[in-house]
Assembly symmetry: C2
DNA sequence: TTGTAAGCGTTATCAC
DNA sequence: GTGATAACGCTTACAA
């Protein structure tokens, strides 16, 4: 690996002049600067980011913590993060936590020793304890879709507008003349579930429709939850004509169960999901859903982080936590 | 950020003693070592990986280059890589290339300046030019499913056994008494396609069945290719009773088209894919396929890289490129 | 405009 | 056993 000193020797100048020249400092003669740059290129020089970081105190690296990158939702978000980071000369250190406290701690420790300038955390649920550890890194932190609503001094959250998305879904169903609409919940205690359900009730109220408790059934965010939910709903004296599901995985469980029971979709039952996971377009029938702009959320999170890292601590005044809009994707399940 | 010197001051020793104590060197009195370690913990010390790297010459970081992490296949592989890396105290620097030469170069440059100890590349196709740039990093490189069969001095490839997987698929269909079996190809020039097709022909030959050119139709690795392939096959005087597809995306295109044309699957046409992408289990009917052990391939690639990084250049003798076995997953499309 | 020297946080080589 | 001291590759005062 050739260094700044090698170039200095080859160009017959001091290494500090080389350092200046390579960073286009005005403090160096234009001619020698070009000469030095030419030599550097010719010798195949690449600056050592770590050495630089050691003196500047900034690593130009951000840590990205995920439960698992194998989650397609997470992967798309991370792609948005990485693309933006790359555009701004930042590198991304990926760290999986597997939602296991032990690995979570290891991840934080690693990011600390790497001296990352900021951290983005994408996990459906961020434990309070864990969050406090992340904050102890002393660098800005941006959470994505944090369902626990915690945030601390350095911590910001980018999230989808669950209420707006829920209204979009309900408006769609109501416009299709559905009047008996069910809601299948997600995992307990997720604020996103509360918000989507809130929109469900709100939409009904606004149309003067009654909100019937029997039409709200528990799911768990996975297909098997959707399956059980559909069975419960079909057991009602007066089953719904449409279902708004907490998320796509739940809706997919519903879809499969409906097919097994020969319930025609959307004729007998319309189904709307939430998330727009890649699967949604490929199930049968293709699922109508509320898309979360995953890539954009990643971009936005990284953009915020760039601001925060630049500004240092945002002198007293906290930025607001951005909320992005969901988008109705009409397919064939409604 | 507190340093080794801060601890030295607090513990009343020199910083070199602290350095030794923290790495459990035998060259330091057991009592003072414990005292120092206690102080370090109390002060919340975390070693600076970059400073360490500067002197040791090893960063304990590996670069992972992907076209896009949003590809579920890639994401699973990366999860395997990351998990293994973490277990061995290595961090993962993720770098997306988007298959764009410009970003590819930027990615390599970045990994170079980070002084990563090794690189793993997951892209369906690795250009010769690009590969030579990666190799110029001077660190071991492991490719995953490199379809171009190139490899250089530092370069190894982990790949799935396409031939064995293809035989698995064909054996399955032949066991189900299918005698008229078609093959839908992938993108041109991928060695994986050649190998899978080779297995197709081999399996037929072994049973003494004729290999009919009209039963081999071009796809492109995507659903629309599968769609066109099915249309072509159904136009034959004597259509096949089963199809082995280059990959799952192709098979999914076939499945959708079959439904539109009311072709019953598997009764009228059996379909087998390759890859076992997450979608495969969720399409209708769920797709029989040959699973690539993605997570394990990631683990294996990282394991190899660990060896290579430890050994330095494997003195003259090249390791062989590992080939992992595919696994038949029988679902409802056959 | 350029060079010298100090320092970033480590590890490693010496003496003591 | 321990402590100076140099070195890793870089940036940045401070001098010249």
């Amino acid at each position: 690996m050739i260094s700044i000193k090698d170039i200095a020797r080859a160009a017959g100048v001091s290494h500090s002049t080389v350092s200046r020249a390579l960073r286009d400092s005005a403090l160096v003669n234009a001619v020698t600067r070009q000469r030095i740059q030419a030599v550097a290129i010719e010798m195949g020089y690449t600056p050592d980011a770590q050495a630089r970081s050691l003196v500047t105190g900034r690593s130009r690296a951000v840590g990205v913590v995920v439960a698992t990158i194998a989650d397609p939702f997470v992967a798309e978000v991370v792609q948005g993060v990485e693309t933006t980071a790359q555009q701004h000369g930042y590198s991304v250190v990926l760290s999986g936590s597997g939602a296991e406290p032990e690995r979570e701690m290891a991840a934080v420790q690693m990011l600390r020793s790497k001296r990352v300038d900021g951290v983005i955390v994408t996990a459906s649920r961020i434990g309070a304890l864990y969050l406090s550890h992340v904050e102890r890194l002393g660098v800005p932190v941006v959470l994505i879709n944090n369902h626990n609503e915690q945030s601390g001094h350095y911590t910001y959250t980018v999230s989808v507008d669950n209420h707006q998305g829920g209204l979009l879904a309900m408006d769609h169903l109501l416009t299709l003349e559905h009047r008996r609409i069910a809601y299948v919940t997600g995992p307990e205690d997720h604020s996103s579930d509360m918000e989507r359900m809130g929109a469900y009730r709100r939409a009904l109220e606004e149309r003067g429709l009654p909100w019937e408790p029997e039409l709200v059934v528990r799911g768990n965010g996975w297909p098997d939850g959707g399956r059980r939910a559909l069975e419960a709903l079909m057991g009602l004296v007066e089953p719904p004509t449409a279902v708004f599901c907490y998320n796509d995985m739940t809706a997919i469980g519903l879809l499969r169960t409906a097919r097994e029971r020969s319930i025609r979709i959307p004729e007998s039952l319309a189904v709307v999901g939430f998330d727009d996971i890649p699967l949604a377009a490929y199930v049968d029938p293709p699922l109508t859903t509320i898309a979360q702009p995953k890539f954009e959320m990643g971009q936005l999170a990284m953009g915020m982080l760039l601001n925060l890292m630049q500004a240092g601590t945002p002198a007293g005044e906290r930025l607001s936590n951005p909320v992005v809009q969901g988008q109705l994707i009409v397919r064939e399940s409604t």
